[in-house]
Symmetry: C2
Subunit: 748 residues, 2 copies
C-alpha cells in the first residue's frame, strides 16, 4: 500500500501516552487527543497556547457557516449551497504569567513532558516541569452524559519558584477557520459568560465557574471577542484551578440571553470535575463491558482497536436525530464536518450491532432531511429523492459537481441501510412509519435517473461516478446499477408485503405511487445491466473498464501520493487504477450472494489495482482477504485500519481523525476475523484467529442479547446475557443460543 | 433546427436599416450596429443615453482584466488564470439639454426614427424627430486604416424649438462589465483627454477635439471617472458638432501622459470626419472589389452575406500578430472576448483565400504564445505544448476544467492550420521558421497525453471532450484521435522532408528532438484507433457512442433551449444527441479522403442527432448537404449562417455578434455551393447554383491571383486578374487558368 507508520506514542492497552514532547507531531497530537461527546468536540490543543502551528478547534454538531464569495454556477443542478461546520469558541483559553512575564511553551525550557488519554474515563492529562521553577498539569474532560458540561483542571506545583503568578482564563470567540478569522459575532458577555452568533444566526453560549484552592484576586476584561478573567495568587503551595464549562447551542438562534443564563445556572449547580469523572467512569465501564474488543498477543492492535472504540463513542452515541457522523467527526475541519455515505455504509453496521437506537437515529437523520433530498432530485431534473454526497443540514454541501451530480451512493446507501437495519432488528414499525417513504422517493429517483441503451436491452446509469472516485462520467457502473436495482426492488417488496397496512396506504396516497409506476420499475430492474464475464467470473467495474490503459501502481513514486495533490486532475481518471473498492464494495454489502470463486476472482483482479487513497478501503480488503484465506494480507490491512491515526499512515491525521475509518475498523474485525454476515435471512458467524494472535474477543448485540465472542485458534466461545430469540449460524450450522456460554471447537 | 427568424430590419443589398424604433430589439440593434476595426470596437449604443436595458460597450483588442475572487482549485492542472476583455471608456458619451431639462429618449415622444449602417463606408447614421421641436442626427464612423481615430457627428435641426440648448460630451470611464462597475483607475485627465488604467496595469488614453458650426460657450467638468465638456449654444439654425476621437492603448502600461499627448496631437492634426469617410470609402471599395459575394435572386441572403463580409473585416484585418478573433469579436462581453479554436478552424480558411497575411498573423499569434502553451502542457503533466481552449493573451482563460483540461481541438487546430496554410501558400519559410517548432511541441503533447489500451493494440485519448461538447470524458473520440495522429504525422513529415535545412536543425537541437522520440510517435500513429464500422461506413464518434441512450431531438420542447440554461448540467452529457459536428468535422477538414458513400452514411446518421447549439454547426452541415445533393437543406442551413445575427436566430445576438459564425458563412458559400476543396494537393472547385438563385459570385485569392467565380445554373465563369501559377481542378478536370475570363458549361 505504500503506507508507512509514523509511530511516536507508547503502546498501552487502555491509554494513549505521549512520553516527552514530540514537536514534529504537535498538530497530529492535537487530533489524537481530541475529546468529544457527539454534542461537541475539542481538539487536544494546548490550553496555555502553543507558539507554533496549531489548530485550536472546538466544534458543535450542526453549528455551521455558509462560505462567502461562492462562485455561483451558470448551470442548473450544480450545487452552490455549500456549508461547513464552523470552529467555535475556545473555552479552554488559558495564559500563564510568572510575575509580569507571560509564559510561552518552549520545548527547550521544559522537562518531564507527559500526556495521557485515559480510555476508561475520557480524561486527558498533560504535565511538564518548567525549568526548575514549577510543575504544571492540565486535565480536561467532557461529560459523556451531560453533554453540555466540560471541565478544565490546572494544577501548578512550585519547585524553586515561589511568588506572584497570574492565570488568565477565558472564552475566546476569535477562533480561526481554515486559518481565516472573523465570523462569530459576540452579542452578549458578562462575568464568566459570552454569547456568540454565526452569520447563519445560530448561537453558542459559553459559561464557566471557578473553584480555586487558594486565595486570589480576580479581574474581568472584555477584549472584543475575547472574554478574559485574570486570577492573581501567590504560588507557595500546589494551586489547583478548576473550571467547569457549560456550552449551550441554539441551532435556530432564538434563545434569549436570559434563557441561556437560566439553563446554564442549573447545569453549573450540579456539575463538578469529580462528578463528571465518576459519570464518565460509569459510562465507559458500561460501554466497554458491552462493546470491548480484546486482542491477546498483539498489543499494538489492541491499543488501536480500543482507541477506535473510544473515538467512535465520542463521536456518535445516537443522542439526537439531528446529528450525524462527519468524516473527521468533531476533531478537525477537513471535509468541513460533512457526513458522507460512510454513515450508512460503515457506521450503521457498527451501531446496528452495538447500539441499535443510534443506528435508527442515523436513519432518522435521513428521514428528517428527505425534503432537501427531494429538492435536490428536482435540481437534477429527476423525480424522488437524491441524498447529498456531503452534508451537515441535509442540503448538498459538495461544491464539486462531478461528485455532487454524478454519485448516487448516498441514496442507495440510505436504502441499503434501511433494508439492513430492518432485516437485523425486525423493526417493522420503523419501516412502515419512516423507511417506506424514503424507499419510495429513492426508488423514484433511480427510476427517473436511469436510461435504456440504444436498443432498449440494458437499463442503467450513464455519466456517473461509482464508489471508486478515480473513474468519472462512466456508464453502467456495476455498483450503481446493482444498488439502484436493489433500492427499487426493496421498495416494491415492502409495498407488496405491507400494502394493506394503513401507514403504507397513507404514503402511497400522499406520494401518488401508482401500480404503473411500479411496473415501470420492475421492467427497469429486470433489464438492469450488471457487466459480468461468465468465464472469468469477473464483474467489470463499468462498461469499458477492462480495456482502460494499464498502470502498474507500484511504479508510481511514493512522492506522487496523494495523487490529488500531485497529479494533473484529469490524469487521475484514465487508467485501470482504482482508489477504493467498487465491485468489492457491493460484494461486501451482498456478501452471501457470491460464491467464493467469484469473490476470489474479483479480489485477485481488483486488489492489485487499488491504491487505497480512501481511508475506508483497507478494511473491506481485509475482510475479503480473511474470507479468501489471505491471512497475512488480512492482518496487514487490519493494522492499517486500527492504527490509521495513531500511526498517521495517511500523513494527514493533523487535519483530524478519520472517524468513519475508525468505524470501519470495527467492521473489519467483526466481519473479517469474526466472519459476521448480516446480509442474509439468518445472521452468520465464521470466526478464525489470526496466526500471530493468541485470542481475541468482541461483542455484539442481536435481538436484545449481548453476545460476547471469544476466539482462539482451537475454539470459539459465545457468552450470552440472555437467550437469543433468533437462530445464529456459526460456520455452517444453525444454533439456538441460550444464556450463558457455548463453546465450539474449530477444526484446522 | 427549431430556430426561428426574428426579423425586424429592412432588406437592402448594401445597408442595414432599422425603420422606426424597435424597442424590443434595442439591445440586439446595439450589437448589429457595432463598428470595429480590429484595434477597437464600439457597440451601437445610443450616444445620448437610453433609459432602459443597454450594453454600453467599447472594447480594445488585448486590453483585459483578471477576475477578482477566483475560487482557486486545490487540484493541479485546473486552470484558474482566467482573464477577460474589459469594457473600456465610452468616448461617445453625450447628453442633450433643452433649456435646463435633460432630454431622455422616449419612443412615445419621437418620430421618423431611422438608423442605417452603410456597408460601403462603415458609417452609422441614426436620426429622429423629437415631438415637433427639433430633428437630431447622430453619425459615427471608425477609421479602418488609422485605427486609433473615430468620429461622432451630431446634427440638430430646429423645427418649432428655437432657443437655448446644451450638449454634454465626454469620456466616460464608468462603463460596467457584465453589469458590474468599477475597475478603471483614471490617473490623468484634462481638457479633452483622460487616461485610465486597468488593474492589470494596461492603459487607455482617450482624447478628442471638437468642431462646431456655431458660436458656443464651453465648460469643462471632471466628475470622478467621467470627463465632461458642456457646450451651450442657441439653436436657431442647424447645428453640427463634430467630435474627432483618438484612442490609444498601451498593453504594458508604460507610456507616459506626455507621450500620449504627443502621439494623439499628431493623429488629431491629420484627422477629420470627412477624411475618415473618404479613407473608408476607398478601403471598402478595395475590400469589396476583391471579396464581394453577389447573390442574384435572394435579397435576404445577399444582405446577410454582405453583412458577414463587413463584420469580418471589421473584426480582423491581420494588422497585428498580437490580435486574435474573439467568438463575439469586439461587439460584446459574452465569451469574454476569448479566441477559441474557431480562429484556426473557421477563420484561417477565410483569410487564407482572401488575405493570406492575416491568416499568417493568426498563426503567428500562436507562435508568439507557444511559451504559455508549453507551460499549460506541463500543468497537465504532459510534454510539448497544449494550446488554450479560450484565451486573449495565450494563457488558458477557461475556468471550466472539463473544457480546459479535456479538449485538445485548439492544439490540433493549430497544427491543421499550419498544414493547411502551407499547403495552399507554399510558404515554406513560415514552416521552417515558425511552423515546425509549433508542430514539434504539439506532436509532443499528443504523444505524451495519449495512452495505449490494455493489450497495447490501440493508441488514443482517454477522458476527453471532442468538438461535440455534449459528450464529456469519453475515450477514443474519433476526431481527437485522428487529428492527433495527423498532427504527429505532419511534424514527422516536415522533419523528414526538411531535416537538412538549418532552421529545422536548429529547432531539433534546441528542443532536443530525437529519432527515438519520432519512432515512438510513428508507432502511436500506426496504432491510433479510429472507431469505424466497415459495413455501415459509419465512424463512431467515440468508443461506445452508438449504444448511448437515444433521444429524439424533436421531442425536446422549444422552451428547453438553450439546454445549458434549462437542463440539469449532467443530463446534457448522456444521450446520443450532439451539439455540433464531430465526425462530420474531421470529414470537413479532410474532405477528399472520404468517398461520397461514407460522407452520406455519416451525415445521415449524425445530422438528425445534432441540435446545432453551437452557432458554427449549420455551415458545416450546409456544405455536406450541398455535396450530398440535399440542396434544400443546404440552403436552409446557409440562411441560418448568413442571417444568424440579423434575424437573431439564437436569441442571444444582444450579447454580441457571432463573429466566428460569420466567418463560417463565407466558408459555407465557398466550400458549400462553390465546392472549394483545399485539403488535397490540388485546389478544387465544383460550384452549383441553388435552385432558387439566378446566379452568385464570389472571389478568392490563390497564389497571387484574384479569381472571381460567377455561377449560374448553366455555366460558371472564372475571371482572373493574372495568370494562375498553380493548376485548379474544376469538377473533375484540371485547368491552367490565364488572366481574363474562362467559362465552363455545366451539365443539366
Amino acid at each position: 500500500m505504500g503506507k508507512i507508520a509514523q509511530r511516536y506514542l507508547d503502546v498501552d492497552p487502555w491509554k494513549i501516552i505521549e512520553t516527552g514532547f514530540h514537536e514534529k507531531q504537535a498538530v497530529v497530537s492535537e487530533s489524537l487527543f481530541s475529546l468529544s461527546n457527539e454534542y461537541m468536540g475539542v481538539r487536544g490543543f494546548f490550553d496555555e497556547g502553543y507558539p507554533k502551528e496549531s489548530l485550536i478547534g472546538t466544534y458543535f454538531n450542526g453549528i455551521y457557516e455558509i462560505p462567502k464569495n461562492i462562485q455561483r454556477s451558470h448551470y442548473k443542478g450544480i450545487s452552490d449551497k455549500s456549508h461547513y461546520m464552523v470552529n467555535a469558541a475556545n473555552a479552554f483559553y488559558t495564559r500563564i504569567f510568572v510575575g509580569d512575564e507571560m509564559f510561552v511553551f518552549n520545548p527547550n525550557n521544559i522537562s518531564d513532558y507527559k500526556r495521557e488519554l485515559d480510555l476508561k474515563t475520557g480524561e486527558q492529562t498533560r504535565s511538564y516541569q518548567v525549568k526548575d521553577l514549577f510543575k504544571i498539569t492540565f486535565k480536561r474532560i467532557l461529560n459523556m452524559t451531560t453533554y453540555q458540561v466540560s471541565h478544565q483542571n490546572i494544577k501548578i506545583e512550585p519547585i524553586h519558584y515561589q511568588g506572584q503568578m497570574s492565570i488568565q482564563i477565558g472564552i475566546d470567540f476569535r477562533t480561526k477557520h481554515w486559518g481565516k478569522p472573523g465570523f462569530w459575532d459576540v452579542k452578549a458577555y458578562g462575568n464568566g459568560y459570552a454569547l456568540g452568533y454565526t452569520t447563519t444566526n445560530q448561537s453558542l453560549f459559553s459559561r464557566y465557574n471557578l473553584d480555586v484552592n487558594t486565595s486570589y484576586q480576580s479581574q474581568i476584561n472584555f477584549k472584543g471577542r475575547l472574554n478574559i478573567e485574570t486570577i492573581n495568587f501567590n504560588l507557595n503551595k500546589p494551586v489547583i484551578i478548576q473550571k467547569t464549562i457549560v456550552s449551550l447551542i441554539d441551532k435556530k438562534g432564538e434563545k434569549s440571553i436570559d434563557t441561556y443564563l437560566e439553563e446554564s445556572s442549573k447545569l453549573l449547580n450540579h456539575a463538578s470535575y469529580e462528578k463528571t469523572y465518576q459519570d464518565n467512569q460509569l459510562f465507559y465501564q458500561n460501554y466497554f463491558s458491552e462493546n470491548d474488543i480484546l486482542i491477546e498477543g498483539d498489543p499494538e492492535n489492541q491499543q488501536g482497536i480500543r482507541y477506535c472504540l473510544f473515538q467512535l463513542v465520542n463521536t456518535y452515541l445516537g443522542v439526537s436525530e439531528e446529528n450525524n457522523i462527519g468524516a473527521k467527526g468533531l476533531t478537525g475541519e477537513a471535509y468541513s464536518g460533512h457526513a458522507f455515505w460512510d454513515s450508512e455504509t460503515y457506521c450503521v453496521p457498527v451501531y446496528l450491532f452495538t447500539n441499535p437506537k443510534a443506528a435508527k437515529n442515523l436513519l432518522m437523520f435521513r428521514y428528517n432531511t428527505l425534503k432537501q433530498a427531494k429538492k435536490r432530485a428536482q435540481e437534477l431534473d429527476c423525480k424522488g429523492a437524491c441524498y447529498p454526497i456531503a452534508t451537515l443540514n441535509g442540503d448538498e454541501a459538495c461544491d464539486l459537481w462531478q461528485h455532487a451530480s454524478l454519485q448516487f451512493q448516498p441514496s442507495s446507501a440510505v436504502a441499503y441501510a434501511i433494508w439492513h437495519y430492518v432485516k437485523n432488528t425486525k423493526d417493522i414499525d420503523f419501516m412502515l412509519n419512516y423507511g417506506f417513504e424514503m424507499l419510495v422517493e429513492i426508488a423514484r429517483f433511480f427510476s427517473s435517473r436511469g436510461q435504456y441503451n440504444q436498443d432498449q436491452t440494458k437499463f442503467g446509469y450513464y455519466g456517473v461516478m461509482g464508489p471508486d472516485e478515480f473513474q468519472m462520467m462512466v456508464n453502467h457502473n456495476a455498483y450503481t446499477n446493482l444498488l439502484a436495482k436493489e433500492s427499487m426492488f426493496w421498495m416494491i417488496d415492502v409495498y407488496e408485503t405491507y400494502q394493506n397496512q394503513p401507514q403504507i396506504q397513507k404514503v402511497v396516497q400522499n406520494l401518488g405511487l401508482t401500480t404503473s409506476e411500479i411496473e415501470v420499475m420492475k421492467k427497469q430492474c429486470e433489464l438492469m445491466y450488471i457487466p459480468y464475464d461468465e468465464k472469468t467470473k469477473i464483474y467489470e467495474q463499468h462498461e469499458g473498464f477492462h480495456d482502460l490503459p494499464h498502470i502498474d501502481i507500484h511504479s508510481i513514486p511514493v512522492t506522487d501520493f496523494p495523487l490529488y495533490a500531485h497529479w494533473s486532475y484529469d490524469r487521475i481518471y484514465r487508467n485501470d487504477m482504482i482508489k477504493q473498492p467498487d465491485v468489492l464494495m457491493f460484494m461486501f454489502l451482498f456478501n452471501q450472494r457470491f460464491d467464493i470463486e467469484t469473490k476470489k476472482a474479483n479480489y485477485d483482479y481488483y486488489e492489485p489495482k487499488t491504491i487505497h487513497e480512501s481511508s475506508l478501503s483497507p478494511s473491506i480488503h481485509s475482510i475479503f482477504a480473511s474470507e479468501l484465506g489471505y491471512k497475512k494480507q488480512a492482518l496487514e490491512f487490519f493494522r492499517f485500519a486500527t492504527r490509521m491515526d495513531l500511526d498517521d499512515y495517511n500523513r494527514n491525521t493533523k487535519e483530524g481523525l478519520h472517524l468513519t475509518s475508525i468505524a470501519a475498523a470495527w467492521v473489519n474485525i467483526v466481519y473479517g476475523f469474526g466472519g459476521l454476515r448480516s446480509d442474509g435471512n439468518i445472521l452468520k458467524l465464521a470466526p478464525y484467529c489470526p496466526d500471530t494472535w493468541k485470542s481475541y474477543q468482541f461483542n455484539f448485540h442481536y435481538f436484545d442479547s449481548n453476545i460476547r465472542v471469544y476466539v482462539n485458534p482451537k475454539e470459539i466461545t459465545l457468552t450470552l446475557d440472555q437467550d437469543l430469540k433468533e437462530p445464529l449460524m456459526i460456520y455452517d450450522k444453525a444454533y439456538h443460543l441460550k444464556k450463558g456460554m457455548t463453546t465450539i471447537h474449530v477444526g484446522n
